[in-house]
């Protein structure tokens, strides 16, 4: 149970039950899909990026497990108002936390995203946690193709 508690922290369960920014965005200027061929989970991320490179709005819609839904939801809260470069750096730190060789300090600038630190004990779920981030990166790169995490 303690392992499960590490994975399914209450913040994750809350965002799974009530994901934030979970909507289509018809006036988005970028959109990308994330697809995990192993489990068939799929989600779309929409973005509005200002001329100064700041992400002014972000949303997602998709099907997936609690980890992928909560990760997408918390991602939208984390990257809104950040520049493209800041968002990508955040993804780098997030990825290091869930899948890096070395455990990172939970508070290494990740804020609420630190609730996903338990994922590294569940290697099969790393892709669930990163799915939305891969889609975000594709959208930022202006790619329209589906990316597989």
């Amino acid at each position: 149970m303690s392992d499960l508690g590490e994975l399914y922290q209450s913040v994750i369960l809350d965002h799974n039950r009530a994901p934030r920014n979970c909507r289509r965005m018809d006036d988005a200027d970028r959109q990308a899909e994330g697809y995990n061929p192993l489990c068939g989970d799929r989600l779309s991320v929409w973005l509005k990026v200002g001329e100064d490179g700041v992400i002014t709005d972000v949303s997602f819609v998709g099907i997936g497990c609690a980890i992928s839904q909560a990760s997408a939801s918390l991602m939208t809260l984390s990257v809104k108002g950040k520049t493209r470069a800041e968002a990508l750096r955040l993804f780098g730190r997030f990825h290091d936390m869930v899948a890096g060789d070395q455990p990172t300090e939970p508070a290494a600038g990740l804020g609420k995203l630190a609730v996903f630190s338990g994922v590294r004990e569940f290697p099969s779920r790393v892709k669930c946690a990163s799915l939305a981030w891969h889609a975000l990166r594709s959208a930022l790169a202006g790619e329209t193709a589906t990316t597989s995490s």
Binding site: M1, D3, L4, L7, Y8, S10, L13, D14, N16, R17, L38, C39, G40, D41, R42, I63, G64, C65, A66, I67, Q69, F122, R125, C128
Partner: protein, 420 residues
């Protein structure tokens, strides 16, 4: 086609001794996450009895040599072990002759062999390959590849909401242009048992050959290629208590004789010159390169293990597991069973409202319970049934009613863990 089970001994079938069977499988006695391992993923791969492990180990410790070439005794012994396994597997499948048994890497390779060697030279643009809407990707994609190469078309017969083949629709889809029918004997995702003998009769009435994908069936039902009257039958060692990396293609001898080789290399030739080559006789024609000799020896041991069991008592045991698991899993709040065909193997697929199958499987894993969560390599079927994925518990000859209870108890707390 009901399985033709051999009942040994008197009319009183002895009670199936699952505890004794479990002692044959060393992996089952371990603990996972501090709990006894509950392995309910035998449709993905089955566990191996000690007899199979020993046969592989003995081959490498005392019998290893390449086959069909050495003039020394060790090679002759290895060849005898390899060909002896082929003969026993031919008997197990009730093939007409060992020449009809081709060793492959598994079911997938066997189907690809038929697609490329049998079917490809026969296909014209507009020809059709008929499958069903509930096939594993390995019984879809090889046909799509050969269709793309030739301009042929893959068609899928529809299924009912319960996960049963619509046999009338299937019959109507057999047409002038149908060149091959390929169906699973048992659906890996739902456990539905297809009436393969009936399917073969309908196809043969129009002169269409039939491949039966037996990957899921050999561990549960007696596989009798002559009773099925199929033209090809494919299965995998690792799903029938044998090693990974080895499988079988059964083909009618006349068809195999007429087919060109699929892969070229050593062991499949009669003579080679730089100008051209001639092919070996069956079955060597289709076994280019050094095969998985130890795997074949292990598969032979698996067939011996299965053959020594009372298949009637085993079938009764699995039928009881299926009935009890269906009732008890179906009674868990918010669980919906996916696939409720009247004829099923011991596979229970389900979803839980509001909880993704991966999360269900992770909670079960914390209790040492192994199930599959996902699309089961059957994405078109998932789409047809309107679910992105399911949880699948699949049972085998070593599964117990206690394990069903452990699964149900763990399922009952999924919603609490997930805060629902």
């Amino acid at each position: 086609m009901p399985a033709t089970q051999v009942r040994r001994g008197t009319a009183l079938t002895p009670r199936y001794d699952v505890a004794a069977v479990r002692r044959d499988f060393p992996i089952l006695s371990q603990q996972v996450r501090g709990k006894p391992l509950v392995y309910l993923d035998s449709a993905a791969t089955s566990q191996k009895p000690q007899a199979v492990i020993d046969a592989v180990s003995r081959f490498y410790s005392a019998g290893n040599a390449n086959i069909h070439r050495g003039v020394y005794q060790l090679s002759e012994t290895a060849t005898a072990a390899y060909e002896g396994a082929r003969a026993r597997i031919a008997g197990f499948l009730n093939a007409g002759s060992p020449r009809e048994v081709i060793f492959t890497r598994g079911t997938t390779e066997a189907i690809n062999l038929v697609a490329q060697s049998y079917l490809r030279p026969r296909l014209q643009p507009g020809d059709e390959i008929l499958i069903t809407a509930m096939e594993h990707h390995s019984n879809i994609v090889p046909w799509q590849l050969v269709a793309a190469q030739t301009g042929a078309v893959v068609r899928a017969a529809p299924i009912t909401d319960a996960g049963e083949l619509d046999l009338d629709a299937f019959d109507r889809m057999l047409g002038e242009r149908t060149r091959l029918v390929s169906v699973a004997h048992i659906s890996n995702a739902l456990g539905t048992v297809h009436p393969v003998a009936r399917i073969a009769a309908l196809a043969h009435a129009r002169g269409i050959p039939v491949l039966v994908d037996g990957a899921q069936s050999v561990a549960h039902l007696a596989a009798d290629v002559r009773a099925f009257d199929c033209d090809f039958f494919a299965c995998s060692g690792h799903k029938m208590f044998g090693p990974t990396g080895v499988g079988v293609l059964y083909g009618r001898e006349a068809l195999l004789e007429a087919m060109p080789p699929w892969q070229g290399g050593g062991d499949m030739i009669a003579s080679v010159t730089l100008e051209g080559s001639t092919w070996a006789e069956l079955p060597a024609k289709f076994e280019a390169g050094t095969p998985d000799i130890a795997g074949v020896v292990g598969l032979g041991a698996a067939v011996d293990y299965l053959s020594a069991l009372d298949r009637g008592a085993l079938a009764a045991h699995e039928a009881e597991l299926l009935a009890v698991a269906t009732d008890r899993i179906g009674a868990v709040p918010d669980v919906r069973l996916i696939g409720t065909a009247p004829r099923k193997a011991s596979v229970v697929s389900f979803v839980m409202d509001g909880v993704h199958p991966h999360d269900v499987a992770t909670v079960l894993d914390a209790d040492g319970i192994c199930v599959r969560a996902g699309h089961h390599c059957a994405q078109p079927l998932m789409r047809r049934l309107g679910v992105p994925a399911t949880v699948r518990a699949s049972f085998a000859l070593y599964s117990t009613l206690d394990e069903v209870d452990a699964l149900v108890a763990s399922l009952a707390r999924v919603r609490t863990v997930m805060g629902r």
